[in-house]
Symmetry: C2
Subunit: 242 residues, 2 copies
């Protein structure tokens, strides 16, 4: 608490504000000295929507915390078919430890702000600080759980269930106050129809048709193609296949 205030009042970028929020970031696991060290070599960057952060088969020399925005992780087949294999929201950690080459592509889905540190620093700190490694293990386990949940959606749900599941997932991630008891929610879609299709293993036409159906059935409203209002979270849940 005091530590963090000191750092921030010293004019060092507020590395950890958002990390704290949902306990998935890196910084919460570090002690005061380490935080100061890290802050010296870290840099905050604002990245426009659509920019590539990490290319496939590219050497990764830095790790980042996502401070705001949404990063999409994609994999492609040789003929161009693409699949989004994960979305990272603030305050997720971005980077694959212990592997120099990236097997996936990371791209800013919205405007994104990142706090990046050199690979070497993080790896050194990981050796020194079991707490940091512990934090990373927890995030990795959470991501594995999410990936496996999504495998059920990809393998076993219908197009209409997939789209409903997607909207629910976004609603819960964008606005974590959407608890199970809430009756409605509002958010901006962080993905285009093409991205949603790549996430769900569908085509953009099918995604569009399903959204239209949800609209005509009065489950959701969409303004300007982006701004979504879920009028009935419970009916959306019913359609998600659970």
């Amino acid at each position: 608490m005091t530590v963090r205030q000191d750092i921030h009042s010293a004019g060092i970028p507020a590395l950890c504000q958002s990390c704290e929020a949902r306990h998935r970031g890196v910084c919460g696991a570090l002690d005061a000295d380490q935080l100061v060290d890290l802050a010296k070599t870290s840099s905050r960057r604002s990245i426009p929507s659509g920019a590539e952060l990490v290319g496939d088969a590219e050497v990764v020399d830095s790790y980042s915390n996502v401070l705001s925005g949404v990063v999409k992780l994609t994999k492609s087949l040789s003929d161009g078919r693409q699949q989004i294999v994960g979305l990272q929201f603030a305050p997720d950690f971005l980077g694959r430890p212990f592997k120099v080459e990236s097997a996936i592509n990371a791209e800013a889905a919205t405007e994104v702000s990142l706090c990046s540190f050199p690979r070497t620093i993080i790896e050194r700190m990981m050796k020194e600080s079991p707490a940091l490694e512990h934090r990373l293990l927890k995030q990795t386990l959470t991501e594995l759980d999410e990936a496996r949940d999504w495998m059920v959606t990809l393998g076993r749900k219908t197009a209409s269930e997939k789209v409903a599941s997607f909207l629910l997932m976004i609603a819960r991630n964008i606005d974590p106050t959407v608890d199970p008891a809430a009756r409605s929610a509002t958010f901006d879609l962080p993905l285009t129809r093409a991205d949603i299709a790549d996430f769900l293993g569908l085509t953009i036409e099918t995604v569009s048709r399903q959204l239209t159906r949800l609209r005509t059935d009065r489950v959701i409203r969409i303004d300007n193609n982006r701004h979504v209002t879920v009028d009935s979270l419970s009916r959306l849940e019913q359609r998600s296949g659970a």
Copy 2:
């Protein structure tokens, strides 16, 4: 080396033999004292094919190393649709740290032998030994990579590509000597057609038809519905969608 020999010659179950093989097990990360401790509380079990190891929403009080056989991890929708979200081969670690309740089902796909330890022991050792936590982080990252690879298969490949990808994956896991240069491979399918369908997000009929096609195209042979000979790994790779 010496340590391990001491333990084994002392009549303590050979916890770590298979762990060593591919460096994904738990034991390699422990020191001599810890290994002896662990061996005292561990038990080796042989489990028949089809037995449930961990039920959904069940409290997990033990962790295990898979010593032989194949364990399937499944998730189900409320209406019974099922998806296999992972397969664990020896010497994988089985168990989800930091979570008392399991969100997935674990079932023996073949006859399985396990080496199990109480939850409390592992968690205590994890606190004491950063090396163990490091080992777990690495396995978890590997599983995450595998899950993401499989998401591409589920979301973007055709039925025929899915079946080819599956056969290749099994060939590489059952017999790790199948290197890229090999031209053929032989193995027993660890899964029934129904399991394969649940793994690939298909129906058993579609799986069966695709296997038949691979057979008539002379890419594979199948004896007794189980014993597979891949005559041309390269042609199988071509059909896997890469």
